[in-house]
């Protein structure tokens, strides 16, 4: 009798500019395996299902517990983290592809630096006076804290951007993750003081006006971040800002 195996079909690409191709794999079944455990198995025995020696598949991962955001890919067509994709819970052959909205680096690795650049544009930080000891932070209700906490769990994984019909490889749309971060910082008593700077960024090109409200983003977020709520809130805040700009100019 054949020992139990796990079947995978993986889209591969050697370089950013080279052509993608598909390979199939079969690795021994082990209880509690996730997709990453399968990829590690391919590293240890780099053979395709028909026994061809190949370069091991490459992928990104670090924490292996869905908190770093690194290991995002398309699994059976759905964007998600590969570390929490348990083999027992998904259909085989497991089809793995890199995310489609970001340039492929190699195999399942993509370059998501655009998200980090957008975070910089959006000034997604609290502008503190300095690191010296000037005492306590602002008093804040625990309910406000709770509201912010949910938003601050965003691990820049890119699922919401991959799922968004408005976000394409070459437009400048910032996407739900960024809008939600602007909300996070505007909610902080200190962050609020500079909220206009952040609002101006998402009122410009690629900003919130381009969001078609398709709500695909919120369904794909592994951290259950209320992205549509954030988008609606940012819509309100930017409208106000627009009005203010008109009246004050």
């Amino acid at each position: 009798m054949d020992a139990k195996t796990i079947k995978l079909k993986i889209k591969r690409q050697d370089k950013p500019e080279s052509k993608p191709y598909w390979q199939e794999f079969e690795v021994p079944y082990k209880p509690l395996s996730n997709v990453i455990a399968c990829l590690m198995e391919i590293q240890r025995t780099p053979l395709t299902a028909d026994g061809k020696q190949i370069n091991p598949v490459t992928w990104d991962a670090n924490c292996l517990e869905e908190v770093c955001g690194s290991c995002t890919m398309l699994i059976n067509g759905k964007v998600r983290q590969s570390c929490t994709a348990l083999v027992d819970q998904i259909k085989q052959p497991i089809v793995l592809e890199p995310m489609s909205k970001f340039p492929v680096v190699r195999d399942l690795q993509v370059d998501r630096s655009r998200i980090f650049k957008d975070l910089k544009k959006a000034k997604a930080w609290i502008p503190i006076d300095g690191t010296h000891d000037i005492g306590e932070g602002p008093v804040m209700s625990d309910s406000l804290r709770a509201k912010r906490y949910v938003l601050s769990e965003c691990m820049t994984c890119g699922c919401c951007l991959e799922a968004c019909p408005q976000y394409t490889k070459d437009n400048g749309f910032m996407g739900a993750a960024i809008f939600s971060q602007v909300r996070l910082f505007n909610l902080h008593p200190t962050g609020e003081m500079t909220q206009e700077e952040r609002l101006e960024t998402i009122m410009g090109k690629g900003g919130i006006a381009d969001c078609g409200n398709a709500q695909a983003c919120v369904e794909s977020c592994p951290k259950n971040i209320p992205l549509t709520e954030s988008i609606a809130d940012m819509g309100r805040q930017t409208s106000w800002q627009l009005l203010k700009n008109l009246l004050l100019k």
Binding site: A61, E65, R112, W125, I128, D142, R145, Y149
Partner: protein
Amino acid sequence: MAKRKKRIIVIGGGLAGLSAAMKICEMGSEVILIAYQSLKRSHSVCAQGGINAAMDTKDEGDSPEKHFFDTIRGGDFLAEQPLVRDMCHQAPAIIHLLDRMGVAFNRTGEGHLAFRRFGGTLYSRTAFAGATTGQQLVYSLDEQVRRYEHDGLVQKLEWHEYLGAVLDGNGVCRGAIIHDLRTNEIFTLAGDAVILATGGPSQVYSRSTASTVNTGAAATMAYLQGAKYANGEFIQIHPTAIPGQDKLRLMSESARGEGGRIWVPKKAGDTREPLKIPENERYYFLEEKYPLYGNLVPRDVASREIYEIVYNQKLGVEGQPMVYLDLTHKTKEYLEDRLGGIIDIYKKFTGDDPREVPMKIFPAVHYSMGGLWTDYESTAEGLIDHQSPRNQMTSIQGLYAAGEADCQYHGANRLGANSLLSCIYTGLMMAPGVLNYASNISKSVEDVPSSTFDEARNYWTERFDKIKKMDGNENPYKLHQELGDTLMENVLIVRDNKTLEKTVYAIQEIEARFKNVKCVDTNDWANPAASFINQLYCMIHLSKIITKGALMRDEFRGAHYKPDYDLNQPSDFDPYEYIDYLEKKNYGEIAEDAFPPGHLDYMRRYEENNTHWLKNSIATLEDNQPDITYEDVNTSLLTPRPRKYD
């Protein structure tokens, strides 16, 4: 000509690296930040439970001095006292700073910071942001560093790997050799100082709570270049982790801090559903043996007790190496708010909901108390001189270490929620000293001949060319697994010399087989194999340090447990008797009946043992092997005494 800005190379984008980068920028110097992946993905995000600072917001009588005492005692007196004391006194200011930076710390009804209890202390001194505190702290520091990047002071090189220090003819560190993980190019960076904030080495073990990048390679490379590596044998085994194939995911100590109880069925092999087992047929072994600290005994104690229950008393759940960690007596709302993040992790990886059924957990490799030896300087009053260029400097001049990569803050066992603190503390604390070093060095980096950099680059280019040509029959990833299994089996919670001796040979065999490795990837772009093989080489050296250190240390201290050298503390012993004993010694002979039977003997053994072993073990490279010597620990502030938690 305008004076150029100092330029510091920071390796690692976790809490220590980000803190150092932020502070250095604030002081007006430039930082080049090297990270193995994108920032925000570092291992610090895995820390769950919280960060310690004694603010005594509940009027329990806590103070930084008590935090200091708990930390030193928790570490079995092997931590460097003046530094730990400074850290504990800085802790409240660090929390305030983080709070001002926008960390979503849980709050009280009045809107102030909330604190919870953690292991090894009787006080509520752990500030927390849900159960993802590490992630939250990394993000807020990352945001501040992004702000400096926006202002042009930080240059980030993500997807770059540190390979080694560029040393000049006098052995002074003048920069770093960097490997671009995408183009696979190797180049050098010149800098006024280099900081290794490269984290811990838990990947040396096959299954741990570590992230995949935690190979300890950068710190090991410093050792291979001549730096001292201290206390490598002190590896923390976290008592509660979730069993898994690729990784043992951490179940935070906060689960116990929030009331989680550890138990096993009293009857071995009991097959009933856990919740069908009545209270009186459950063995809450930590609560019974340690009435004072209960489930919140320090980690080394808890791990040993779980090991004892499973392997010696054979009481593991379903006969497996597992015990229950039970939260089902808490309300769902409470758990969601306080522990949501970790409950989700458990559910995602096991399919079971900890709100409905007790979790099954077992100890796992978690943290290295040891690391690169680092220096510091005290003032005449015994305080830390925060301007001193010696703070956090390794034994290689100009090369610094911080965070889990250093060695001075946790002694023989780290207390929960002290790691986030030590990472941020070291990063912030070292900055003025590093810049003083950079300003006062007699020969500037511009005056170092370019040949020094060329030679370093050539050496590493050749080395990687050779690795890429390796064409034996050993798969490097498999060999890594074997190395990890070897350490897992033999250098874990309970240690004995025969097994350790065998392990030394087993590692030698793996080292011999390493020569026969095959570079399994031939791509000339974004090829991770060569880099991994180099890391494996480092991990082999590191495992030698850990194993030899463990073999030579013939005692039981903190996480290093050798039953053959257990001093067998009498069960009715009170640690204050020891203080009394030291006092009495000043007045001549002590009468044999001055203490309860057996106690005097025990105290003499304890004292005698400390004269040999209350020392840092220092590994240096000699003929390809770790040579281990011992250096004194500063115990000037708190008298070492036996630990006891019941």
